[in-house]
């Protein structure tokens, strides 16, 4: 290996350069700024050589070669269209052939203005066609999924879409059919093209053959203003480009960032933006009067909010931070709580977390790639990856793509531990556990037991990386995952579901942690931060999210500040949430009227994603800037700014008079936390959970443990939201809404057989306490035996509103006798 040369010399159009061995000529030319025309070539797809557009002359070769399939060899001399008549003529001849059957509908084609075929035709194409025959005609367009339309007349058969689907996403149901001039992209008759990543095939289509219904005929590329942004649908951190026209978002595209999302994103992130125009959007402040909301001026609304806080503050205040807020919003809200309201009652979690889980999550707080946190790239070079309590295909789709790449292309062993690994099962070794059984399974892995254990204990380069989802927070899984990383000398990362979760953890939007992940319980830390903030920080441990709701419902908390939180939907059961809303003075900051905000005493309009300026921190701990793409709607305001203004009304100056101030403070605290880590007992990444987090119960027993074998005909309920669900951020994303599956109950084939339930049958699911639902049955081996999976937040069944955020219960599933028609 070491004998291989590290570079080879190549001359392109007379310019010499050195490239890595194995570099394709087309990539080498790019390094010189020479773009050889291409259609089928894509830097992240395997070379194909189908479109033949990138012909170049290689000195000594009889025929012109395709630059996209030819690797550079030492001493090679290449002439592109810049200097070679052979290359130029070859490209022009090929272009003529590509155009003969291509429709001349550029004036009405969505791709017009950003179309490589159009651009090249303009630059090098023939002015007139010699093709006097009839062009190929197909029905146009045909719908190959709810999010993708196919116009076969425009297709140049580059196979980018089919290759993306087979190579990158592993969704096989789009293929090339027929042959010769009738070759065409098609889908199987009885298998729909369903993919969480279908929007990428539209984006990489080099012509207007694949279009999305949501953008179709909406705009011209040259009329759009583009803004760099970061997606806030999940914690994957995808870089986006938001294209807007006349103050409205017309489309969102994946923006290249090889460190994070490469060139891809998921359909939810791509198409989930239309909620900004929802009729439910709140654009001006509202106040409750006689049980109804009425509009109000900002000054009146803020005064009412401050007065309400003043009146009820004695009973305590709780600040609930939404999961889709920026790092700056979360920072300002926790500062509001601690400095202006004098409480540690601030949390972004909707779910309970035990002490071990909290400690494990706290290990990663304030740490990013520069502190040794594992990254997307690290996954590809890992010795093995363990994924715990996480279904990345649904919960962090771009992470799933990178894990698939690591496993399929790089041969990295992936072990999935949990009750529903979902499509991880396609390439991972699955250790199926019932809820609560993860900790024990992880300990067995740590001892090298079983096939999966052997995978982890084997020799090899790279680290073992353990990725744990939020769901193990209350069942011992999260703590055990961190411990496994420590046992194996590997690295640990927490992969939350929502885009704001990691940032909230980092900036201290938790009752137990201060910015930088430093413990509230430590008096020295409190005084250090208090000094920086010019305030005395509260010592009493705060309540976590579920505890605040319970306290408010019990009348033990006077004020609830809800920043982007739908209490009824996410903090159920509904009765509990409504009681909390009823009994506390509620200040809601949100972008929509929903079951929660309609019951607020003060409803303040907040910005939506495309109107936001700030950073989002992804699961790696990487903070990335998102920018304002459209003017702020109505009288809406930034949430961090509202926190600052509210504090002013309460007579406290938080000093957060601009983004720069907040960013300066968060950076400072991150730096201090890093410095403190050198002296304070700061656990190494992947180290065992320590007693560093002092809030709540003493470390040790998880809230729920491995279930006893039970003989009650029941199944353990597994529930979490799928990618496409009833989220308010998916409002008006009509294409996605049509692909949203609706509620169902998924059973392992063994359990289904025992219950006499077939795929597609109707079943009654009894959640206990007179709570039942009639749901269609899906039978799939992706759910662990002994478990029943019901998605958490489908439009037809808001399960959290029914059962609460993290129900640990046994359900009974039984067949429904179909009533005779």
């Amino acid at each position: 290996m070491s004998d291989r040369p590290t570079t080879v010399k190549v001359t392109i159009d007379g310019q010499e350069l050195e490239v890595r061995p194995g570099t394709l000529v087309i990539r080498a030319a790019e390094q010189l700024g020479t773009i050889v025309p291409r259609f089928c070539d894509h830097r992240l797809l395997a070379p194909l050589g189908a479109c033949r557009q990138c012909l170049v002359e290689v000195v000594g070769q009889r025929k012109p070669l395709t630059a996209c399939t030819t690797t550079v060899t030492d001493g090679m001399e290449v002439k592109t269209q810049v200097t070679s008549e052979v290359a130029r003529a070859g490209q022009e001849g090929n272009l003529e052939l590509l155009l003969i059957n291509h429709p001349l509908d550029c004036p009405m084609c969505d791709k017009g203005g950003e179309c490589p075929l159009q651009d090249q035709t303009l630059a090098h194409g023939p002015g007139e066609t010699r093709f006097v025959e009839t062009k190929r005609h197909y029905e146009k367009p045909i719908k190959i999924s709810e999010t993708v339309l196919l116009d076969r007349e425009r297709c140049v058969l580059c196979a980018r879409c089919t290759r993306f689907s087979s190579e990158i996403a592993g969704d096989p149901f789009i293929e090339l059919f027929e042959r010769g001039a009738l070759e065409q992209v098609a889908i199987y008759e009885d298998e729909p093209y369903q993919s969480n990543y279908s929007g990428n095939v539209v984006q990489i289509c080099p012509v207007g053959a694949l279009t999305s219904p949501s953008y179709r005929f909406q705009a011209r590329p040259f009329d759009l203003s583009s803004t760099d942004a970061v997606c806030n649908h999940c914690a994957a951190g995808c870089n986006l480009r938001i294209d807007a026209r006349r103050g409205m978002v017309t489309r969102e595209l994946a923006r290249d960032n090889d460190e994070v999302n490469e060139a891809w994103n998921c359909d939810r992130g791509r198409y989930g933006f239309a909620y900004a125009q929802s009729p439910q959007r709140v654009l001006i402040p509202h106040l409750s009067e006689d049980g109804k909301l009425r509009t109000a001026a900002w000054s009146e609304a803020l005064r009412r909010a401050a007065d309400g806080i003043g009146a009820a503050k004695a009973k305590g205040v709780g600040v609930l931070v939404g999961g889709h807020l920026t790092d700056q919003d979360a920072y300002a809200l926790q500062k509001l709580a601690r400095v202006a309201l004098g409480t540690n009652n601030v949390d972004a979690r909707t779910w309970p977390e035990d002490t071990g889980g909290a400690a494990a999550a706290a290990q990663v707080a304030g740490r990013g790639p520069e502190d040794g946190m594992p990254t997307y790239r690290d996954l590809e070079a890992a010795r093995a990856v363990v994924v715990v309590d996480l279904d990345p295909h649904e919960e962090s789709p771009i992470l799933w793509l990178r894990l698939r790449k690591a496993a399929v292309r790089r041969g990295v062993p992936v072990v999935a531990v949990g009750s529903r690994p979902g499509r991880l099962a396609e390439f991972a070794t699955v250790v199926a556990t019932r809820p609560g059984g993860q900790a024990e399974a992880l300990q067995r892995l740590g001892r090298g037991e079983g096939d999966a254990g052997k995978l982890l204990s084997g020799e090899g380069d790279g680290d073992v990386i353990v990725l744990a989802g939020w769901r193990g927070g209350a069942t011992g899984g999260l703590a055990a995952a961190a411990e496994l990383a420590s046992t194996l000398g590997g690295r640990f990362a927490w992969v939350p579901r929502r885009a704001g979760d990691r940032g909230a953890l980092d900036v201290g939007a938790r009752p137990d942690l201060l910015p930088g992940g430093r413990p509230v319980a430590d008096a020295a830390v409190r005084s250090e931060l208090g000094e920086a903030w010019g305030a005395e920080l509260p010592e009493a441990p705060g309540l976590d999210g579920p505890a605040m709701v319970a306290a408010a419902a019990a009348g033990e908390l006077g004020v609830l500040i809800l920043a982007g939180v739908d209490l009824v939907r996410d903090h159920g059961p509904r009765e509990l949430a409504e009681q909390a809303l009823e009994r506390a003075f509620v200040i809601a900051v949100d972008h929509e009227v929903n079951d929660t905000t309609s019951q607020a005493d003060v409803l303040l309009p907040g910005v939506v994603h495309a109107e936001t300026e700030g950073t989002f921190t992804d699961w790696e701990g990487r903070a990335q800037a998102t920018h304002r793409a459209i003017p702020v709607g109505g009288a809406a305001q930034d949430i961090w700014d509202l926190a600052d203004q509210l504090a002013v009304r309460l007579g406290v100056d938080l000093g957060l008079h601009g983004m720069d101030r907040i960013t300066a403070e968060t950076k400072l605290f991150r730096k201090r936390a890093r410095a403190a880590a050198a002296t304070e007992p700061h656990p190494p990444l992947g180290g065992p959970p320590t007693g560093r987090v002092a809030a709540g119960e003493p470390a040790g027993e998880p809230l729920s443990t491995a279930p006893e074998e039970q003989d009650d005909d029941g199944l353990d309920l597994v529930t979490y939201p799928l990618l496409l669900d009833g989220a308010s951020m998916l409002a008006r994303a009509s294409d996605l809404n049509r692909e949203t599956p609706g509620a169902f109950v998924e059973l392992h084939p063994d359990d289904a057989a025992q219950l006499g339930l077939a795929d597609g049958a109707a079943a009654e699911v009894d959640f206990g306490e007179d709570r039942t639902a009639r749901l269609p049955v899906r039978v799939a081996p992706t759910v662990a035996p002994g478990c029943a999976f019901v998605p958490a937040n489908q439009p037809d069944l808001a399960l959290r509103a029914l059962l609460g955020p993290a129900p640990a219960l046994r359900v009974k599933v039984s067949a429904v006798e179909e009533a005779a028609a």
Partner: protein
């Protein structure tokens, strides 16, 4: 005067050669003992020394191809026999399989032994039902006699042979497309490298050899290098099957040493042109090889001779056209074949063949334009040497050579408002 030889055709006159016992009486499977006495390396060297060149069209030296097979990969090595005979004008392999199927089985056994293959595949053109049944019966009989399976004839050598019928695509004669199809994938050519010798069938080292090539190997083993080289030329030694069709008195397969002058094949063995007509054009190696004319009749039919004349030996499928044949119509016929068989993967072949088909159809039906011939030439320039595989190159051969030798006929189609030959308008549909 070059005499016909009887090597591959030696048993064709015997209508019981396909029966395994009778085949044995005709010295069938006699090469096995001789082969098993030698080491595989010696056999590869023997085939190299004999100078056997592939009979599937490209004429690549078979021994050298075997020598390229990657060693020590930890993967099996595969022999895949290309029996997807689809080149227009070519019918040698099918007749061989009908008349003497054990000759191929024998060749598969000794060739597999030589390259260390334990699982050989025969990819047969799907439409060829009768040769397929004959071949399957021969394979079954060989298993019954212990000539296939475990420990063949006590040699310790194991071999299984699978006959796979294709689904009727010309492109599957191209070796990478053939392998894809055999794996159950879409039959389209793949990038090389990796070459099949390194990563072929199921990503294991694979050699793909033509039926005639494989059936020739036992003869070399039995009769030796000197005997083999006594036929043909220094660079193109050995016997070769020539498929002659078209306007000749006596069409069929004829076996000659390579290098036989075309005159002796067309005017001699095949009996010359029917009804006293004169020769207008002929293909030396199937539709993918540029046509030649009566001026080329003294060309020696081996790889070098035909190449020097501006064409290719290909599969040695000689299609003979008399003065009655309209060359535009002939080109249209060929081009319709290529447009139909283009796999669609690459732009030049997919779009170019379809466009040429349309232009030739217009010319033939009187819709031609004066600049059509230039356009045809330009399209051929855009296809030749630019398409993904050799199918595209082959598609240009009839058109380029017809324009070279018979340009006047094309012009007449334009100036005369259609085909000057009788019967054209009723046989050609409008395009």
């Amino acid at each position: 005067m070059t005499d016909q030889v009887k090597v591959l055709t030696s048993r064709w006159g015997d209508n019981r050669a396909h029966e395994i016992d009778h085949f044995g009486e005709l010295d069938g499977y006699a090469s096995l003992d001789a082969a098993f006495e030698k080491s595989p390396e010696d056999l590869v060297q023997l085939v190299k020394d004999a100078g056997l060149r592939g009979r599937g069209g490209a004429g690549f030296p078979t021994g050298m191809k075997w020598g390229f097979l990657a060693k020590g990969t930890g993967k099996p090595t595969y022999l895949v026999v290309n029996a997807d005979e689809s080149e227009p004008g070519t019918f040698k392999d099918m007749e061989l399989l009908e008349r003497d199927p054990h000759a191929l089985v024998e060749g598969v056994i000794v060739s597999s032994y030589a390259i260390g293959c334990r699982n050989a595949f025969i990819y047969l053109r799907g439409e060829c039902g009768w040769p397929g049944r004959r071949l399957q019966a021969a394979i079954d009989a060989a298993y019954d006699k212990g000539l296939l399976g475990r420990d063949i004839k006590g040699s310790g050598f194991d071999l299984d042979v699978v006959l796979h019928r294709g689904a009727g695509a010309y492109i599957c004669g191209e070796e990478t497309a053939l392998l894809s199809s055999l794996e159950g994938q879409r039959g389209q050519p793949k990038l090389r490298p990796p070459f099949p010798a390194v990563e072929g069938l199921y990503r294991a080292p694979t050699t793909v050899n033509n039926v005639e090539t494989v059936a020739t190997v036992p003869w070399i083993i039995r009769k030796g290098v000197d005997w083999f080289r006594s036929m043909g030329s220094e660079k193109s030694p050995g016997p070769k099957l020539f498929s002659v069709s078209g306007d000749v008195v006596n069409p069929g397969n004829f076996e000659f040493p390579l290098g036989v002058p075309a005159r002796e094949v067309i005017l001699g063995a095949a009996g010359g042109l029917r009804d006293g007509k004169t020769l207008k054009a002929w293909t030396p190696g199937g539709s993918s090889t540029p046509m030649l004319t009566a001026d080329h009749l003294d060309t020696p039919m081996d790889f070098e001779g035909i190449t020097a004349a501006g064409s290719l030996l290909g599969t040695a499928a000689v299609m003979v056209f008399s003065e009655d044949v309209c060359m535009v119509r002939a080109c249209l016929n060929f081009t319709e074949f290529y447009a139909h068989e283009s796999c669609g993967k690459c732009t030049p072949c997919r779009e170019g063949t379809d466009w040429m088909r349309k232009i030739l159809g217009r010319l033939e039906t009187g819709q031609g334009r004066p600049d059509d011939m230039d356009t045809l030439k330009d399209i051929c320039d855009s296809i030749f040497g630019r398409s993904f595989c050799a199918l595209g190159d082959g598609a240009t051969s009839p058109v380029v050579s017809a324009l070279k030798f018979f340009r006047d006929e094309f012009d007449e189609h334009v100036s005369g408002g259609g085909c000057p030959f009788p019967g054209a308008r009723v046989t050609v549909a409008a395009h």
